[in-house]
């Protein structure tokens, strides 16, 4: 089975975020980046399917030069090769523009299965997988908690809301978005890291794809959200904090 897995590089979870001069994105200069955590579950699922059924895993990422690191990590964990769609201004694309670019870059690969994470930890649009399915003419299922390959089709477990699940069957080729927590993503081994150095990453400048996609939406500005509640911060030594908190919960909030 030939599997494509989309992995995005996003600001590290603990990176301090400052808004850039445009007002619509963050200052990238001083912060570190990491693989979007939901995508690491998709990658792990792709690797497990390959190990069970044979085939190849291709890691696909779009972004500036630094995004190559995320592909390298996927190669170190066991993906066979990578495709890097290079675009310094990737962050400014709308979901449809991103998906069209990715679709154009991978069209010829004819993947049997494409996996993505549920959503990214930066934009959080949560649309890429579904859009790829539509643009490539594939059936899809989202928020997947289990994948079984049965002859020529898949049987997948979709998570619904409030503790409900549903099994869904769909033919290959298909696109799935993976729910976080479906598996325990592996760490790269030293051997894997060494092996990754010899693996191929194809760089495709996004503008070379000739994708014309008029933006459907625009992020005008980003900002620290206004508080809906006034938070009272309690300071002091742990002992003092504990005493004040108990006092306030008892007599101010009256919840103890």
């Amino acid at each position: 089975m030939k599997i494509g897995v989309c992995v995005k590089q996003v600001p590290a979870k603990d990176a301090p975020l400052a808004i850039d001069a445009s007002g619509a994105w963050i200052r990238e200069a001083d912060i570190s980046f990491e693989t979007n955590e939901p995508d690491s579950f998709a990658l792990e699922e792709a690797l497990r399917l390959k190990e069970k059924h044979g085939g190849e895993v291709v890691a696909i990422s779009m972004g500036p030069e630094r995004a190559k690191q995320t592909i390298k990590e996927a190669l170190a964990k066991g993906a066979e090769r990578g495709i890097h769609v290079v675009d310094d201004k990737f962050y400014a694309l709308d979901p449809l523009g991103s998906a069209r670019s990715l679709a154009a870059a991978i069209q010829k690969e004819n993947f049997d299965l494409i996996l993505t994470g549920l959503q990214s930890e930066d934009h959080g649009f949560g649309q890429t997988g579904v859009l790829l399915a539509e643009l490539l003419g594939r059936p899809h299922a989202t928020i997947i908690m289990s994948i079984e390959l049965q002859d020529d089709h898949l049987r997948v477990k979709r998570e619904l809301e409030a503790g409900w699940f549903q099994w869904v069957e769909l033919p290959l080729p298909a696109v799935l978005t993976i729910q976080s927590g479906i598996n325990k993503p592996r760490y790269a081994t030293l051997k894997g890291i060494m092996a990754a150095k010899k693996k191929e990453i194809t760089s495709v400048p996004r503008e070379s794809l000739g994708v014309q996609s008029a933006p459907t939406q625009k992020v005008e500005r980003i900002y620290v959200p206004q508080k809906t509640k006034k938070t009272e911060f309690i300071t002091g030594s742990p002992k003092e904090i504990a005493a004040t908190l108990v006092e306030k919960l008892q007599h101010e909030a009256r919840v103890l």
Binding site: T216, Q217, Q226, T231
Partner: protein, 328 residues
């Protein structure tokens, strides 16, 4: 401007978040001087359509087909595209449910349009609609506008509006109109099977008056007893954000958030929880929220009544002791 509000039902029962999206549609309409039509999709949904017609709506559109009895992304996208092309709304509003996430981007793309999903609010300024959504896991908000021609598609996050504020029609019912759609069995490529619940929920967190909830900040399963002791002292139940349950440190049934339980206890203590949207939607209705987190910029502080910026490993034991001495 014409707004089309698309409701969600399963097996003849409303997804209640629908009414929040209805309230949002009506509020936007009032400001933008627009009309709102409602839409019900499925099979044998006449009863639901009649119920919806009791709300303040221009009309209620019914999209019925045997192939829509069970939800599929193909069936929903193909049918709704035809309904949208026939009714020609400028703006389509949906509740941001798991189901909407599954089909709405596809529906939008099939019309060569975009979707602004998971909005928490909107503003109407100088004749322009601005949608507000969260980015960076709630650490920033973003003002987003549609570009180009409609129909525009937007979805609102659960809890963004109050469903009980959806206005009813005081003078009768809105007309109910059937929309004919063409759908062939071979167009539906996925086969939905049975719905089921994983396990009986042994703990009903929704009934607990106090919850002590842990997040990534707890670092390792060995540290959970720390939170357990505090929960015991407070007579509270222990709950968690998703990553803790994903790791298997606590069972899934103790998860609070969009994929877990939604709670509104009188007291919610968030220990080492950053406050990602997916968690916050499950607990923001709590009467009193206490957040302890080492990151002073953690979004959990946006909704906390009392905040402590500090190390949970130092503060939680002290708090347990203080609670115990109060009781003793």
């Amino acid at each position: 401007m014409k707004i089309l509000f698309i409701s969600e039902q399963r097996e003849g029962k409303w997804n209640k978040v629908s009414f929040e999206a209805l309230a949002a549609s009506q509020q936007i309409a009032a400001q933008a001087k627009a009309s709102v039509s409602g839409l019900v999709i499925g099979q044998s949904v006449a009863g639901l359509a009649d119920e919806l017609a009791g709300y303040q709506l221009e009309e209620v559109l019914v999209v019925e087909n045997a192939l829509l009895e069970k939800y599929t992304p193909d069936g929903h996208s193909i049918a709704l595209r035809q309904a949208i092309e026939q009714s020609k709304p400028d703006l389509v509003i949906l509740p941001h449910t798991y189901q909407v996430r599954d089909f709405a981007p596809k529906l939008a793309a099939s019309m060569n349009k975009g979707m602004i999903g998971d909005c928490v609010s909107y503003r109407y300024e100088n004749g322009n609609l601005i949608f507000v959504r969260q980015m960076f896991q709630g650490r920033t908000a973003a003002d987003v506008t549609f570009q180009g021609e409609g129909p525009w598609i937007a979805s609102f996050q659960a809890g963004a509006f109050r469903g009980d504020t959806a206005a009813k029609n005081s003078s009768g019912k809105a007309p109910v109109k059937t929309v004919n759609v063409q759908l062939k069995p071979e167009q539906i490529r996925t086969k939905p099977l049975e719905l089921f619940r994983e396990a009986k929920q042994a703990v009903d967190l929704t009934q607990a008056p106090i919850l002590v909830s842990i997040g990534r900040g707890i670092k390792a399963p060995e540290n959970i007893p720390l939170a357990e002791k505090l929960a015991e002292a407070l007579g509270a139940e222990l709950s968690a954000s998703r990553p803790i349950c994903d790791e298997g440190w606590l069972p899934m049934e103790r998860q609070i958030g969009s994929s877990g339980q939604t709670v509104s206890p009188k007291l919610y203590l968030a220990l080492g929880i950053s406050g990602a949207i997916q968690h916050v939607v499950g607990m923001k209705g709590s009467r009193c929220i206490v957040a302890i987190n080492k990151d002073q910029n953690a979004p959990i502080f946006e909704i906390a009544d009392y905040g402590v910026v500090g190390d949970i490993f130092e503060i939680v034991p002290a708090l347990t002791e203080a609670v115990e001495s109060k009781a003793g």
